[in-house]
């Protein structure tokens, strides 16, 4: 790792999130790193996902497009959805980076349980009616970004 690499970052995260927590404790419109950990699927969607995928899951079209989640056949696979949330895709930030690696790219860390929760939410709303649910353990078993491959 070079000398301005990720090793610098954990303490930055802790401090800035600590500050934000104090600042926004009285406003339910905003989470912070600390209180985000307590937020479940519906709120993760309404605070984060809908910024791009829109409140109705309808996506959007401009020079490119944000995929429409409502009626998206790819959602048949919870693994596909979970892997997309974990790793990001085409400019979408990864939400599965370890907490100590998010600051370098100002990404946001969601726990495996939260990712399972928001995946289940998306697959059971906007007209989607998939019955099978992902669990935190199942999400934990998927490849995560930012984790070093096992060394011999």
């Amino acid at each position: 790792m070079n000398r301005h690499g990720v090793a610098l970052l954990p303490s930055i995260v802790a401090l800035s999130f600590g500050l934000a927590a104090a600042a926004v404790a009285d406003d339910s419109a905003f989470t912070s790193g600390t209180s985000l950990a307590k937020v479940g699927g519906p709120e993760i969607y309404s605070r984060i996902c809908q910024g791009c995928h829109m409140p109705d899951g309808g996506g959007a079209v401009g020079a490119g497009h944000y995929p429409k989640l409502a009626g998206d056949k790819a959602l048949v696979s919870w693994q596909y959805v979970a892997l997309t949330v974990l790793n990001g895709k085409n400019g979408m930030p990864p939400f599965g980076l370890p907490e100590d690696q998010v600051m370098e790219t100002r990404a946001v860390h969601l726990s495996d349980a939260q990712i399972a929760d928001v995946v289940n939410y998306v697959r059971s709303h906007f007209g989607n009616r998939y019955k099978d649910k992902a669990s935190a353990e199942q999400v934990a078993a998927l490849p995560h970004p930012g984790t070093a491959p096992a060394t011999p």
Partner: protein, 536 residues
Amino acid sequence: MGNESASSPLSRRELLRMIGVTAGSAALYQAMDSLGVAAESPYKGPIDLQGTPKGASVLILGAGVAGMTAALELRDAGYKVQVLEYNARAGGRNWSLRGGDTYTELGGATQTCEFDKGLYINPGPWRIPYHHQGILSYARRLGVPLEPFFQVNYNAYLHSSTGFGGKPQRYREIKADYQGHVAELLAKATRQNALDAAVTKEDQEKLLESLREWGVLDKNYAYVSSNDASERRGFEKNPGGGLSARPIPSRPTALSDILDSKLWMGIPTGDTFDMQTALFQPVGGMGRIGEAFGRELKSVIRYNSKVTRIHQDDHAVTVNYEDTGAPGTTFTAQADWCLCTIPLPILAQIPMNVGTALSAAIAAVPYASAIKVGLQFKRRFWEEDEQIYGGITYTDLPITNIGYPNTGFFSSGKGVLLGAYIWGLNAMEFTSMTPAERVAKVVEYGSRIHPQYTKEFDNGIAVAWHRSPFTMGCYGMWSTATRAKHYDDLCKIDGRIALAGEHASFIGGWQEGAVTSSLDAIGRLHQLAVAKGETA
């Protein structure tokens, strides 16, 4: 982290931490780069492209700073150039919103800017450091006048929602007091021989002398209320003339209050390489640069053109595009070479026959979430009531900062502030709101720093970059790991196609990254074109 702070002098790590918290991730990222390797622009004057093959052509995708830099230089070098641009205007992220402008974001919400004549907000870049000589040189070549941008204003605020009872503190006071207290402590440690192992006796004398000067300490090396200290932190009553002339010195704030509030984190915002004086802004808004480029290149830019396919073969690059006013109708453009500046989230979705390495690089870079909110007020109360002329107030509230206009000082009538400039999670949350909700929240938070907001607010406009139809994010956020794996692949020419833009630079999020990446790419394209031309 408290342990580290207590046991070691200000380290690189701590400096970065402060910058990250106070100035946002872009500053942090740049600071990391600048502390590690100098992030100074490699711009070394106008590019010299000799020997252009007769009839050679380049198709440029995107009329932002990178695309138009290339178009200008390649045209001047004798290439036949054509530029396709999605928007109905030139500039891309180089953009100012002024009264009467409308902006429709992804999702369909349309805002009309209701600012008074002459007032504007820059949703994208808003400051140019003096060492960004590339973009500065194009401003000069295009006749765009520049004026100072104040990064640091000693009379603006540092604000903690909990420290000092939530009352904003003047930058001047926090800086002077932090410096004074630190100087006093260091002087004490020196005189108690705590530094004997680190500093020679002779140097200790010199150090004490410098600390007294640096921290404005008294003869006993104490930081106390005095006229001298007030020359740094300001007076209780300023010196004047006549019988009411005598100044009353102010009283320093306690070190513990500064530490508890963490306002010390806001002190070094002007110390990073990209934020050091002098900085500049175009007169009339950052968008003046894009507009000037657009006028210069009027005959070669086709607006409202949405690229749908990019295809290369041994002889040419063929691009399909739709007119955004007539979806479904496909047009075709063709050239010998293609310089593609389309932001990566969009480019990743466009069919393009390039190698797997480039494709992987294009898909690997997440784009930052960021928002800016412009607020018009009925009067310039920050100047009239608080004597704040330009610069930035930093806060730990979700709005992060308040940017005061660096122009039009002392003018009567309405004024426009940058009411918020937000990154990360809070930016995602702001993005998830409607534009009206974003503006309302920003006014609500700002009123905790400037109570005048409530009475004086007139109107506002909010740009959330992930809702931008032409970028789908603010800028490419490379991590050390993704840069190591994909950066070179992103920049290498693939057949007849080269990429350029801030995403193909080490000055991410800055216009200088767009300029220097563009010049680098067209220099390499030109070499290829000349080589091909000679063998043809």
